[in-house]
Amino acid sequence: MFKHTLRVAVVFGFMLTNSIAFAETTLVAVAANFSKPMTEIAAEFAKTTGHSAKLSFGSSGKFVSQIENAAPFEIFLSADESGPEKLEQSGLAVAGSRFNYALGKLVLWSATDNYVDGQGKVLSNGSFKHIAIADPKLAPYGAAAVEVIKNLKLSDKLKPLLVQGENIAQTQQFISTGNAELGFIALSQVYENGKISSGSGWIVPDQLHAPIRQSAVLLNLGAENPAAQALLSFLNSTTAKAIISRYGYDLPQ
């Protein structure tokens, strides 16, 4: 009897390790603005393929420097093109694996209702003490915000009022706690079901800044991992695309 149980257990154990061998895990560095859609995409990915994706969120600039210093990431979802391009050139990413997965939208947002008007006039008329942006050196959405301010010719007025978050999520935190009255963040952070879900915002027109082409790249560490490759192709699936556009991103042509 005991022998029999043991045999069943061994056979069962084999089946278990076998199925684990097929389901791989991949470690993904995700730009902070893409955290909400990517969490949903990763859940769908796990359901569809059986593989799983572990996600780390942070500023794109930080991830580039971490990857250059041997961080164990297998995929990098950047908020811009230049980071992945750089990694490809320095031989840390698989050549030719780079593609745009979303076009970022910038929003001027306040946690207070009716604070930001539909044309962003509050920028020139409003009397606020702090306006939050992400560090333009580290975060593409921060760089875009600086560009918008420059194009609106408001640099002189706004520069002394700027406070910088280390990444776009921290920037939102400055605004949502009310410590900064308003600020520039990614639309995806406050966008749900086709509208801004809380506070008030102005979706910045595309012509006020260079397009935020969010690019993905397969890193060398993930080159042999089927889960990493599967996740990158899943990003191009209709399921993923539907999630991405639901958070207010434009899809690349």
Binding site: V64, S65, L138, V163, Q170, T177
Partner: protein, 226 residues
């Protein structure tokens, strides 16, 4: 080697650490004295509260400060009512955060030094009609001078090395809240390793020298006691 903005962050950090240390000594001295002498049931609670920043991640302190100092928080509403305005993203806010964060490094050496002072010295001073202030300056201060040295040096150095709290409530504003540790972090993140090295080396040499001085002085004292 160091750019003008790097030098600005160094100066700002020194200013922040000096001011915070001064305030911590002013608050820490009576607090440490009370803690070293009291029999009160509150002693454990107060000790624990003072020591909290030693074990809490700075992000916890930073998070609570951001909420408490904000327009919806209790302290934030008080400062706004007083007309001071909001403290996050200001130098004053960083001073407050640093005082909370580094206070155990000032209180604990003082408390140890005070506890070692024999009550009989104070009783003698009292029978000689020394006022309490007088006996503080002519009995306690000389007897606890090494405690004060350790407290000042550790409080100062720990404030210089502060990072997480500043990152969370500072907002990285030049000449206001951009201190050395944040500047180094940003250099590293932006792949400006050359500039990061310059500042990091300054901090490394500074911290080592401070600790070396501290341990040499304390070592001499122990030699003298033997």
């Amino acid at each position: 080697m160091l750019s003008a903005s790097d030098l600005d962050t160094l100066l700002l950090t020194l200013k922040l650490a000096s001011l915070a240390t001064l305030i911590m000594l002013l608050i820490g001295t009576p607090l440490a004295w009370w803690l070293s002498r009291t029999q009160s049931a509150w002693k454990g609670v107060i000790n624990a509260i003072v020591a909290l920043p030693l074990v809490l991640p700075p992000t916890v302190l930073g998070f609570y400060l951001l909420l408490a100092l904000g327009p919806h928080g209790a302290i934030g509403q008080l400062t706004r009512w007083l007309g001071i305005g909001g403290l996050p993203f200001t130098f004053a806010g960083l001073v407050l955060a640093s005082v909370l964060y580094s206070l155990p490094f000032v209180v604990q050496p003082l408390q140890t030094a005070f506890a070692a002072i024999d009550q009989r010295w104070l009783d003698t001073a009292a029978t000689l009609r020394a006022s309490r202030l007088d006996s503080f300056f002519s009995v306690i201060l000389p007897l606890a001078k090494h405690g004060f040295l350790s407290a000042s040096v550790l409080g100062f150095a720990h404030t210089v090395g502060e990072f997480g709290v500043v990152l969370m409530v500072g907002g990285n504003i030049p000449d206001q809240t951009r201190v050395v540790s944040v500047q180094i972090y940003n250099h590293v993140e932006a792949l400006e390793y050359g500039q990061a090295h310059g500042l990091a080396a300054v901090l490394l040499v500074f911290s080592f020298s401070v600790l070396l001085v501290l341990y040499s002085v304390n070592h001499k004292r122990w030699d003298g006691l033997r």
